[in-house]
């Protein structure tokens, strides 16, 4: 954890010549726990730990065993691959609700090209992922060229892509559900169950999370995304290529959705037109639980990953408690509200870190 932005911001924005030494002294004396309190993902971390402890108590040893862990890790991994780029978009102040349709479209593309038409797997996979990038590009161009809110734009592509997928699937295959028998190599890369339990998607998720964290940390891109989400006009004025960044982010979310489509198709040896829509709101839920502001400018990859884990634990934990799962959605609703309220508190703490400490002195 190198540069913690709040420190720098606090010093540059708030400290005057005489208060600066006091601030650094304060910083040194604060315990690690106290500092954690001011991290943006503190709320998300507490959320994850609480739901884990909750279901560990009520779900018992089965929940804690490898198979139980696989349950929520698998769900978290697939959701996380989509939630990370969606979260970045939300940090940049935009939404993408077309991911569900992109997932269905890419999985049908793969199943039709490599399953129904019998082309080599790699061709289908490349086309499926390319479709995700293409729809992302389209979303990005429309959002940046017009002043239509991204919610409306991606809502339109959501419907459009869903219709296109259904229509083309019917024309190409006559059905809405296409089977595929993946070769061992693509099975190993995308759709293997390690130890009969853990999806390889978990590694994809970790890989993407690390990669995106590095980009956010080491490259100007990271700052640009936050700056755009904070204030697009100022960002543009300072020379940030707002349009390019946004298009790239949309392509990333399209790619993430397409990747999950490929993973599910290979894992389940087939694709269905109706799949994927559950990812639209589940990804937004995970991102919001992870502490990202719906209005943009605030959030972190670790927070998004924690939010995804929290969602997955709640989503699956209930089946280990033996309770009537009719209540699962209610628990999820309560959780979202609690998480958002808690995140608000921690965000206030994080953003008021230096000023408040400085004033005390």
């Amino acid at each position: 954890m190198t540069s913690s932005l709040p420190d720098t911001v606090g010093i540059t924005a708030e400290t005057t010549a005489e208060s600066a030494p006091d601030v650094s002294a304060l910083k040194r004396t604060e315990s690690p726990l106290g500092r954690l309190r001011h991290r943006p993902e503190a709320g998300a971390l507490i959320g994850t730990i609480s739901v884990f402890v909750f279901f560990a108590i009520f779900g018992g040893e089965k929940f804690l065993a490898a198979a139980g862990a696989a349950s929520w890790l698998n769900i978290a991994a697939e959701l996380g691959i989509i939630a990370i780029p969606v979260g970045l978009l939300m940090i940049a102040g935009e939404l993408d609700v077309s991911v569900g349709s992109v997932l269905a479209g890419s999985s049908m593309t793969l199943a039709i090209v490599s399953g129904h038409w019998g082309a080599p797997m790699i061709v289908g996979i490349v086309l499926a992922l390319g479709l995700g990038l293409l729809i992302g590009l389209l979303n990005g161009i429309i959002v940046t060229r017009t002043n239509v809110p991204s919610l409306v734009v991606t809502l339109a592509t959501m419907a459009g892509v869903a219709g296109l997928t259904l229509g083309l699937s019917r024309v190409a295959t006559g059905t809405t559900s296409v089977a595929i028998s993946p070769d061992p190599f693509s099975k190993a890369v995308f759709g293997q169950l390690i130890g009969g339990q853990f999806e390889v998607a978990i590694f994809w998720w970790i890989g993407i999370a690390v990669l995106v964290s590095v980009v956010l940390q080491m490259m100007p891109y990271g700052n640009w995304i936050f700056a755009i989400g904070g204030d697009k006009e100022s960002a543009r004025a300072t020379g940030i290529p707002v349009t390019k960044v946004k298009i790239a982010l949309y392509m990333a979310s399209g790619f993430g959705a397409a990747l999950v489509g490929v993973i599910q198709t290979i894992l389940y040896n087939g694709a269905q037109v109706a799949n994927g829509q559950s990812f639209v709101f589940n990804s937004i839920i995970a991102v919001v639980i992870g502490g990202v502001l719906l209005t943009g400018g605030y959030g972190s990859v670790i927070g998004i990953a924690l939010g995804t884990l929290t969602f997955a634990i709640v989503n699956q934990g209930i089946y280990y408690t033996g309770w009537n799962s009719d209540w699962a959605s209610l628990i999820l609703g309560v959780l979202i509200l609690t998480a958002v309220l808690m995140n608000n508190t921690f965000r206030r703490l994080a953003l008021s870190y230096k000023p408040r400490s400085a004033k005390k002195v």
Partner: protein, 363 residues
Amino acid sequence: MERTHTRRPHGRRLPRRLLATVGLFTLAASALTACASGKATDDKAGTATASAAAGSDSGAKSNGKVSVYVIGGKADDPFWSAVKRGGEDAAKVVKAGGGSVTFLGPQNYDNLGPDAAKLTLTALSQNPSAIVVPDWVPDSQDAAIKQAVAKGVKVFVYNSGGVEAARRTGGLKYIGSDDYEAGKAGGVKFAESGAKNILCVNTVPGAANSEARCKGIADGAKSKGATSKQLPLPSSNFGNPSAVTQAIKGALLKDSSVDALVTIGVQDADSAASAIEQAKAGDKVKLGTFDLSTSQLNRIKAGKQLFAIDQQPYLQGFYAVSIANQYLSYGVIPPQNPLLTGPLLVTSDNVAAAIAGTAAGVR
């Protein structure tokens, strides 16, 4: 690795309004999802997988000859193509007698009830001697069906709606399966195969036909001394086979007394099969499902699945058209009402015939 961005002191862009919009769209989207679930229910029941235009078979008008209009789904839908295949085979007899059979279907099922009602009126405008129609959405369709009955057209309700729909609208008979009876047959089969504790995985809880299927399973099991409870999966898992698989796996791990699983549709059955494997419960937990697909038949053949409940769509088309023709031509009609076309349990005993039937396009 983390970063924050300080909020500007004033003028955040569209905060409240955006939130409100998102809220609105969330509502709209959940409504959409609800529709989608409803659609899937029908899909699972194999009832409403209808779409696309009239597969018109012959345009011959009724000039004293038998003229039957059949409303169903699109021919490239596997379920409805089997229904139509049965109807076409029965139509050969009708045509030999100089009559005609015409097949109609809606463009899609986004607006199934009203579309089916309009199709009924379209058929009625051709002065048919009989109409064969599924009562998918009684609230939307009943008025049109009653109108046909009032004009003296003989109406046969098939596939959906049950005998109540036939009685309510003045139809002569209901020809089709019964979700509750189908469930009972499955429950009995499970119990007879030694299952004691059956879990009915319901991915569309609250929908009439999936609830009827699970209730049938429970009652069938009870009559043979076994028990069954429902595992309702929330709609936030809809269309995500991983979530369904992991949820079923969790339920199996939690309750090790579960020794049988039944799903309300074939995609869920594929998820359940994977869940059983991941829970390493293959030798203990038996699997059954409603409806047929190639993967179900292959698993039954390989001994990995106990049964699939077939509502025999071919028979629905064949009987409906035959009975309409026989009644109009000779006044003969079987007394059973409803005339059930299912359930037939496909098990390892008869799976070979089912696979042959699939290849022939009638199963």
